[in-house]
């Protein structure tokens, strides 16, 4: 079954329980290629390159897990990410950044390849305040890819996915054609320019 062969962590959304990072990371990073050698975009591998640069490095985003159309990232609590010095909760803007990042990655994950894109619009509903000192986990799924636009939705929580702190919906607009597959003659190294692991 083609679809299931792409599932690295084929667990229904609602059934996900937050497990220690090490336990999940090992599973999530294990399958860069499908059995027939077909190139499959691997968000875990790409993130290992991205997390060392730019905004991801500055924010300290961590990869948690992915399925064929979703990506889960973690924003570890840090004193300088606090949005309210009195309560010690992570800033709303930082949660938004996490969701934007996970949103973009889940589009590539669903596509199975990298394609340049930019966020077009992004909406966040803040359901409740995050717990003081808590990490934020952001999980975003891409539920539709049209010719020019990809549609995503997600939630952020601080330990219990059934008790979200925020819901998110966003669209991404493609800004160029898909990049050649990793390992092809046009791209023997793999990944988009500047993102090679």
């Amino acid at each position: 079954m083609k679809t299931s062969s792409r599932l690295v962590n084929p667990v229904p959304h609602a059934a996900i329980k937050i497990a220690p990072l090490a336990a999940r990371g090992a599973t999530a990073m294990a399958v860069p290629m499908a059995g027939d050698g077909e190139f499959i975009f691997d968000p875990a591998r790409m993130f290992r390159a991205m997390e060392r640069h730019g905004h991801s490095a500055m924010m300290g985003f961590r990869f948690v897990a992915h399925g064929h159309d979703w990506v889960e990232l973690r924003l570890p609590w840090r004193a300088d990410l606090v949005g309210d010095a009195e309560t010690g909760t992570i800033a709303n803007g930082a949660v938004t950044a996490l969701m934007d990042m996970a949103g973009g990655m889940c589009v590539w994950t669903r596509l199975g390849l990298f394609r340049p894109q930019a966020t077009l619009d992004l909406r966040i509903d803040y359901l409740r305040a995050a717990k003081p000192g808590a990490d934020i986990i952001g999980r975003v799924e891409c539920y539709r890819v049209a010719r020019e636009i990809a549609f995503v939705r997600g939630l952020a929580h601080d330990g219990d996915a059934g008790d979200a702190v925020a819901h998110m919906a966003a669209t991404f607009m493609f800004t160029g054609p898909p990049m050649p597959p990793r390992g092809s003659s046009a791209n023997p190294v793999g990944g988009p320019p500047g993102m090679s692991a």
Binding site: H53, D80, L81, V82, A91, G93, A97, T119, L122, R128
Partner: protein
Amino acid sequence: MSITLPPYAAALGIIIEADGAGEDAPVLRMDFADGLSGRPGNLHGGAIAGLLDMAAWASMRAMLDAGEGPARFKPIGITIDYLRGGKHRPTYARGRVTKVGSRVATVVVEAWQEERSKPIAAARLHFMLGRSEAAES
């Protein structure tokens, strides 16, 4: 009048460029740094979101500090439109409180770089004022 921005503002390098005068909200400034970069040549959308959120917060803080409403507020939601790619240069943002009701305030905010008339992003936010069950839970 002077407001103190939350810690996250410093993490993004956001400062108050102009305190605002009269009814104007503060203008915030975020200089480019490598830690704010996204796709090659562009600011990360998350960093822009952080600036928009902070400018909206500052406009509410400034208004309420001026004694025109309750001292407490918390965001209900934000809707961001990304209009142009942000380049590797300073970005500015200013919020405007467009409505203050008894329970909810509405803020619109824009971020721009070289030209104020060419915003790179805009957002609309709602804030719950004072204490309310919907936002407390």
